[in-house]
């Protein structure tokens, strides 16, 4: 696949390395001449110096034949415009934008960007998970369907420990799909499954009902 990356900072640099390892054709567009030069001397001719929002630069980069266009500069507005130009001027089928301000994720999607990745939200999520008071972690969101896959840990002090799943009322549209015991043995949860402390449950749910699901499984 031909992948264009705008922004040769740390993120763009390591992204390029890993995509090249997977044998993709990759091109970085970097605004800063010195950074562009150092990428070229390090990885060969995978980088052009220029503004990734400019039509002329994108034309030179062959954006019209790109399969994926990824904008990972440090500025949300630059990532938005680069992706919009790629999408609407060069008809790139898939555009991915890095978002610094998590509030912009919804906005970018409304404005036509296919995928947004919010570094802030991801880091927050991971740190939150390390705080033991929050037993729910988002694993994946299925945006087109409005569903998400979450992991819920049964807290040792929760009232559901020792209860059978059939006695726990779950919110609608929530499905428990996998249960991992403390001994790392995975199983498919059924009505007769008895919850134990520190069980991890992988569930499909709605963003609106994830709180209710967490509370149901932890007996609150």
């Amino acid at each position: 696949m031909y992948i264009i990356i705008v922004g040769g900072g740390r993120l763009g640099y390591y992204l390029t390395k890993s995509l090249l390892d997977e044998k993709h054709e990759v091109l970085i567009i970097e605004k800063d001449a010195a950074t562009a030069q150092s990428i070229t001397s390090d990885m060969g001719s995978v980088c052009i110096h220029g503004d990734g929002c400019e039509t002329a630069v994108l034309a030179e980069a062959g954006t019209n034949r790109a399969d994926i266009f990824i904008a990972v500069t440090g500025d949300d507005e630059d990532n938005l415009v680069a992706c919009q130009v790629a999408k609407y001027k060069f008809n790139v089928p898939r555009t991915i934008a890095r978002v610094r301000n998590p509030k912009n994720e919804i906005l970018f999607k409304k404005l036509g960007i296919d995928v947004t990745v919010s570094s802030t939200a991801i880091i927050l999520e991971h740190i939150k998970y390390e705080v033991p008071t929050n037993p729910l972690m988002h694993l994946l969101s299925i945006d087109e369907k409005g569903l998400e896959i979450v992991e819920i840990t049964i807290q040792p002090d929760s009232t559901t420990v020792g209860m059978a799943l059939k006695d726990i009322i779950l919110p609608p549209d929530s499905i428990l799909s996998l249960l991992i015991h403390q001994d790392s043995k995975p199983s498919i949860p059924t009505g007769g499954t008895i919850l134990q402390a520190n069980d991890q449950i992988i569930a499909v749910t709605h963003p609106d009902t994830e709180g209710a699901l967490r509370n149901a499984l932890n007996g609150k």
Binding site: E54, T55, E77, D78, Q84, K110
Partner: protein, 132 residues
């Protein structure tokens, strides 16, 4: 008319003063407090410090009741993003932005954004002056 002007540089400040004199309700927005020095003491409108790409700041500026939004910061992309927020998120009836890059302006006007490119306008005006 309630107008929000994002970017209180030379153009933004001058536009704010012109509209203020005609008794429109003007709010200027800038991320740099220094920029407000361009507003004269008799300016009756509001000057708000904040980032116009932030929905909360825009709400504070009264974008939900605004009749018009103008984006004239130094950054083309900032203007483009702010204008799209005003138009598509807050449904402001009249949204205009400045885009220096003529090609980018053409693309976004094609996409439905009202945008002016000073580059094109001035080049055209200079040409006309030279020919007259």
């Amino acid at each position: 008319m309630k107008v929000i002007i994002m970017g209180c540089g030379r153009v933004g400040a001058q536009l704010a003063v012109m509209l203020d004199k005609e008794n429109h309700k003007v709010t200027t927005l800038d991320i740099n407090v220094d920029s407000f020095r361009r507003l004269p003491p008799e300016f009756k409108g509001k000057a708000l410090l904040g980032n116009g790409l932030d929905e909360d700041v825009l709400k504070k500026a009264g974008i939900e009741e605004a009749d018009a939004f103008v984006a004239v910061t130094q950054g083309d992309n900032r203007n483009i993003m702010a204008a799209q927020i005003a138009k598509y998120i807050f449904n402001v009836p009249k949204v205009i932005c400045r885009i220096y890059d003529p090609l980018r302006r053409d693309l976004y006007s094609m996409l439905g954004l009202e945008a002016l490119s000073p580059t094109t306008i001035f080049a055209q005006m200079f040409k006309e002056k030279l020919e007259s």
